[in-house]
Each structure stands twice: as C-alpha cells, then as structure tokens.
C-alpha cells in the first residue's frame, strides 16, 4: 500500500529527489527555491521541516535548519508553505519525530499525518525513527494513505533489512555511506555493496548522502539505484547565496541548473 504519486515517480525512469529545508533562509525565497527544484526536473521533493536538534544532519543542513528557524519557520507555517507551494511533483516531509508527535491536541502522530495529508504531503522520512519506534506513525500513514520511507544504512544487517523493507512504503532511502548528510567528492564502495544487497527487494531504492554532481548521479543509477537523493549540494547554493546576499532569482537559477545536471546524470546512468 503506497502513495500512487510516489509510485509514479519511479515508474519509468530513475527518480531525482532533491531536498531543501522549508523556509531557508526565508519563507518567500524558499518557495522560489523549492519551485526551482521542480523546474530543474525533480520527481519527488523532500521538504525539510526544521527541528531544533537535528542529530542526524551534517553541518550544511544543520545551518540551513538554523537559518529557517531564525527566519520564523514553525510547524504551522510549514503546512502553509506546502499549501502555497506551486509544484506538480509529490512532496515528502522530512523531519524529526518530536514535531510529528507533538502536533495537535491528542498525543501521537495521527493529527500531524492527517494535517499533512490535507495540505498535500505524500510521505515522510524521519531520520530519528528506527523500525523499533515506528509502529504508531506507520499506522497513521496507512490510515491516511501516505508513504513512510525508512533509511537503510551500511551497518544495517540482513535481519534488520527485511524488517525495514517490510515497514517501508514508497521507496527505501539508501544511505550511501556511514556518517551524516553532506556532499562528498567520491562515490563510496559501500554504496555499490548496499545496492547489491538490496537488489532482491521489490521496492524502489533511492540513494542519498554525498551526491553532488551529475557524474555521481550517473554512477549510482548505473550501480542499480532507482533514484538519487541530493540535499547538501543544493543547500550549499542557498548558503552561498545567502552569504553573498545574491538576488533570489540568481540562486534559484543556480539550483535549477544543478538539478538539471543531476537529473541528466541520473538519466544517463539508466541507459
């Protein structure tokens, strides 16, 4: 049981899944940046809802989260943001569990999921929610027809892998290497062996952590991935633009351009 919009993103060609933190560095600029991702060829957008203690992020995304929170992002504003967003690709909300857990009047994740559904969100990635703690959110997602994407790490053993695949819907987020998010200069051999291990499972595999160029994207798709997830390389562009006080359109154009490169690389890898 998975979300049709997300299934569709993987249907014909490799999926390009860019990430940005909503509201980085401001609500309005961020809207333009996220829309630029769609123009650049995004098949799915992972849209971060910033949490004050992002323990799984590298410094690039952590700084994006700080900018977004300082720019006034809240959970309520995030849902408005998704409503205001003019894109025609599925949106996956990436956030930490406490924000999901606290929302609404009743304890538990259901109110958050219900609200997410109502604003058009299609799924979730929750980096601090391992299989062990996922049942309540999984149930709420099932109830409302949203996907819940689990992360598979290089350290995940076969037993855990079975369990994660059985819990995951939409796609698997394949962590390309140990460590935290962040753009790197090479493609890890861990990535290749992870993809080999996963080949037998009938669920789309999107690889993230460290992808920054079209060449990376190509190699990973060629290695067997069904999609690529790119965050830090894109956030870097916003960080630089913010630092240099560059015009929003200029930064948006750069984002679009890198998306095009990454998308093209992915397509090339699928040849």
């Amino acid at each position: 049981m998975s979300n049709p919009a997300i299934d569709a993103a993987f249907a014909d060609e490799p999926a390009f899944i860019p990430y940005l933190a909503a509201g980085d560095p401001s609500y309005d600029a961020s809207l333009e940046y996220v829309e630029a991702l769609a123009r650049g060829g995004a098949d799915i957008i992972e849209l971060g809802l910033p949490f004050s203690e992002p323990i799984a992020e590298g410094s690039t995304i952590q700084n994006a989260i700080v900018r977004s929170l300082q720019g006034g992002m809240t959970v309520g504003r995030y849902f408005e943001f998704v409503t205001d967003l003019d894109v025609d690709v599925p949106v996956v909300c990436m956030t930490y569990y406490n924000l999901i857990y606290q929302y609404g009047d009743e304890p538990g994740p259901e109110p958050f999921v219900r609200k997410a559904k109502s604003v058009g969100i299609d799924g979730f990635v929750v980096p601090d929610l391992p299989a062990e703690e996922a049942d309540p959110l999984r149930e709420a997602c099932d109830e409302h027809g949203l996907d819940l994407v689990f992360i598979v790490a290089p350290t995940t053993d076969d037993e855990r892998l079975d369990r994660l695949v059985s819990l995951s819907s939409g796609y698997l987020y394949v962590q390309a290497r140990l460590g935290v998010t962040g753009a790197r200069d090479d493609v890890s051999s861990e990535t290749t062996s992870s993809l080999d291990r996963l080949a037998a499972y009938d669920i789309p595999k999107a690889v993230g952590f460290g992808i920054k160029t079209g060449e990376h994207a190509r190699d990973i798709i060629a290695g067997g991935a069904d999609g690529i997830i790119v965050g830090s390389a894109l956030v870097d562009i916003i960080a630089e633009g913010t630092e240099a006080d560059a015009p929003t359109e200029e930064t948006a154009a750069e984002l679009e351009s890198l998306c095009e490169e990454l998308k093209a690389g992915a397509l090339e890898g699928a040849q």
Partner: protein, 421 residues
C-alpha cells in the same frame, strides 16, 4: 527498553546496530557479570575512583534544621564528582566490547574530564566534543582533558554549547560506529543508555543503604538529590525504588523502601515561567514543568514549545542546564515514587555559601540545589533522618559562583575585598 511510556530508541538507523550490540554487551557484562566485568569495575572504581565515598553527618546543618542531615560525599570521588562511576564503567565496557576509541560530549566539562580520566586509565584513545563557547568559558576543564591526553574538538555550529556538542558527537558516532563507543554523559539517550548509566551509578545507592544501616541503624526517612539529566539522582535513588531491574541488594525490603521519600531537586532558574515566543525557559525544571516528548534518542519529559521545538533552558548551574531528563526519572515522578521539587538560582547560591561556611565543603552549584531544598522545606516531609547526595565539589564553580553572587543580594555571601589591591 522503556520505563512505562518513557525511554525507547529514537536514533538514526545507522546507529541501531551499535545500539543492539551495546544492549547485548550491557546484558552480558553489566547484568550478568560475564568475564567478571562487574568485579573489575568495582575494583577499579574502588582503587582508582576512591569508593566507597563516606556518608558524613553534617553536624552544623543538623543543628540548623533540627534533623539528622547526612551527606553522601560523591564530591570525594576522583575527578570531583559522581561522574566517574559512569565514565569508568562505559570505557571499561567499550574495552570489553573490543572498541578502540572513545568519544563523548561535554557541556561545562565535567563529563568530558571524567571520560578523559577513565580513558587514560584504561589506555583508550579519546575525543571530546565541546561547544566553542563552552571551550572558551571552561578553560580549566579543557586543560584537564588535554592534560589527560584526550583530544578536545570545539564545535562551532549553533550557539556552541552542550546541545551542539551532543549533535556533533552523534554525528561522529554515526560515522565511526564500528570501532567507537560513545560514552553518554547522563542517564539520557536511547536504551540501553539510561538503564546502563543508572547501573554504573547505583553503587552510590548501594553504599548509602549499607552506610545508613551501619551508622544510623536504619534506612533514611528521605533522600535528596539534584536533578539535571539525573544521573546522580538515579544513582542514589536506584536501590530505593522497588522496580529497579537491578535491585539485588540482599537487604532490600520493598515495604520499608517505599517509606523512604525521594526528592529530585531541579533548577528553578530565575523563574518557572517560559518565554514561548523566544523559545526560552529560564529554568531547567523539566520534571516539574516539562511535557512528554522525544529528545536525544528517548521519550521523556522536556522543555519544549507547543510545536515540539526544544527550549533553551537556563540555570546558574551549567550541569543542570539541560532541557530534558532521564526517562526513568520521568516515570518515577509519574508513579509518584519520586517527588520533583525545585529551587531558584538565588536559593542555590545561598546554599552554596552555607555548606561552604558551615561544613567546610564547597559544593558544586548543582549540589547546592539539593542543599537549598533543606532550607525551603519547613514542614515535616523530610523526616528525622535525611541523606543529601553531594554530587560534586565546587572548585570548578568558584568563579561562576562569585560572579553570580556579586550580581545578587545573597545574605551570606562573603566579602571579597581582599582582592582589592
């Protein structure tokens, strides 16, 4: 892995295999004393750490409060606080697990220095993450860690304090998890950390039971401890709670134990009110005023805004300045087994000077909160025989205590004009 609804393992998947490995090691070595692990731990914490620490009657405080006040002297443990119990236990466990490297976070530096000492003692490479602002504010503790041979990695993200250091240590662990053990600094974090850290600290409770019986002929009427994360708190409470899975004390008696009142004294800071707009709680009283949520790997009581964003906490004592609390303590409070109370910054400073002047023991500012509770508690709830956990010594706090004192009207503050010239 839970304490009622509290606890759990809210961590990235990449860390889960290490958490499973640690859980296995905890059960084998700590709970089942495999390979004589606990025997070695007890021998080292005795000879290297200086256990047992004394239980001392505080003659002058006893007279002041017209009760028998006894002090459990964790300030005499090597390093100057109870922290070593946990640091030594975890570094030794890492060694048994075949890990080759130790990492830890530290705020004011107490856990970092304890971990650095334990790592040097056990010949393990050690790196400590510490916010840049804390590095600059806590130079003596950075000196101590470096002198003990640990690397100190300043964390430049965010405000450069404890929460950034925790995140950064998690990140290191997520990268190096295969050969590295993360020595968490309090009874917080994902399971099995809260139970494991408690079990290393529960020697405090075990000694207190024995010492009260030997020196006073019976268990105390109440036990008072300060609570930030809560490791010294659970350390001295552990064997007085009937549901401790580790409660194997031969003299344990559930009925009698339930008569021992347990008071967890939190930092009331400058006020119990919060500034939701700015995301600031001018206190660290998560047991008294917090709500349930997920932080740093566990579900517990937190200081958070209505969205679930974590508040910036505050206390005159940097060791209590944390927005969460150990999940087991949250459970014991819900069960009404532990009574959460709080005292404000001013009362803590006054208690700091009181113990120093009247008993010749300069307490940590954390500990001063526990002592301040004796002063505010005028009714009979404490009973006749009270044990206070002196969780640490105040040498690390001298400058801070005097600065904070100078900004306030603390009636028993010493004049410092000796420095005028």
């Amino acid at each position: 892995t839970t304490f009622g609804d509290y606890g759990g393992q809210y961590v990235p998947e990449a860390l889960m295999p290490a958490i499973e490995e640690l859980t296995d090691a905890y059960e084998r070595y700590v709970l089942n004393n495999e390979d004589g692990f606990m025997d070695e731990f007890r021998e080292r914490i005795r000879d290297f750490g200086g256990r047992p620490t004394p239980l001392q009657r505080a003659d002058n405080l006893s007279e002041r409060y017209d009760r028998d006040i006894y002090l459990k002297r964790e300030d005499l443990l090597h390093g100057g606080a109870h922290k070593l119990n946990n640091a030594l236990g975890q570094v030794l466990l890492a060694k048994y697990m075949g890990k080759e490297r130790i990492i830890a976070e530290t705020g004011a530096g107490q856990h970092g220095t304890a971990t650095a000492m334990a790592a040097a003692h056990l010949d393990m490479p050690c790196e400590i993450y510490m916010g840049r602002r804390d590095v600059n504010r806590q130079r003596p503790n950075v000196f101590r860690m470096r002198i003990n041979g640990a690397e100190v990695n300043p964390v430049d993200t965010g405000r450069g304090t404890l929460k950034e250091a925790i995140s950064e240590t998690m990140r290191d662990w997520a990268t190096t998890v295969e050969n590295t053990h993360y020595v968490i600094g309090s009874i917080v974090g994902p399971a099995p950390f809260p139970a494991m850290v408690r079990d290393f600290h529960r020697i405090i409770s075990e000694e207190t039971r024995r010492q009260t019986r030997e020196q006073y002929g019976r268990l105390p009427d109440s036990v008072v401890a300060c609570a930030g994360g809560g490791s010294n708190t659970m350390g001295i409470f552990a064997d007085f709670t009937s549901d401790s899975p580790f409660s194997t004390a031969p003299d344990s008696n559930t009925d009698a134990d339930d008569d021992v009142s347990l008071f967890a004294v939190e930092a009331g800071g400058s006020s119990l009110d919060v500034d939701e707009e700015r995301g600031v709680a001018p206190n660290s009283a998560s047991l008294s005023t917090g709500s349930e949520g997920v932080l740093h790997g566990a579900r517990t009581k937190l200081l958070q805004n209505s969205d679930g964003q974590i508040m910036e906490s505050h206390s005159v004592s940097s060791g209590l300045d944390y927005a969460g609390v150990g999940p087991e303590l949250a459970k014991l409070v819900d069960d009404e087994r532990v009574t959460p109370v709080n005292v404000d910054d001013d009362a803590a400073l006054e208690a700091f000077h009181r113990l120093s002047q009247e008993e010749g023991i300069i307490p940590a500012l954390e500990t001063a909160h526990a002592l301040a509770f004796l002063e505010t508690e005028t009714d009979a709830d404490l009973g006749e025989f009270v044990v206070v956990n002196v969780s640490g010594r105040g040498d690390k706090d001298l400058e801070a205590a005097l600065e904070e004192t100078a900004q306030r009207d603390i009636p028993n503050a010493p004049a410092m004009e000796v420095f005028d010239e």
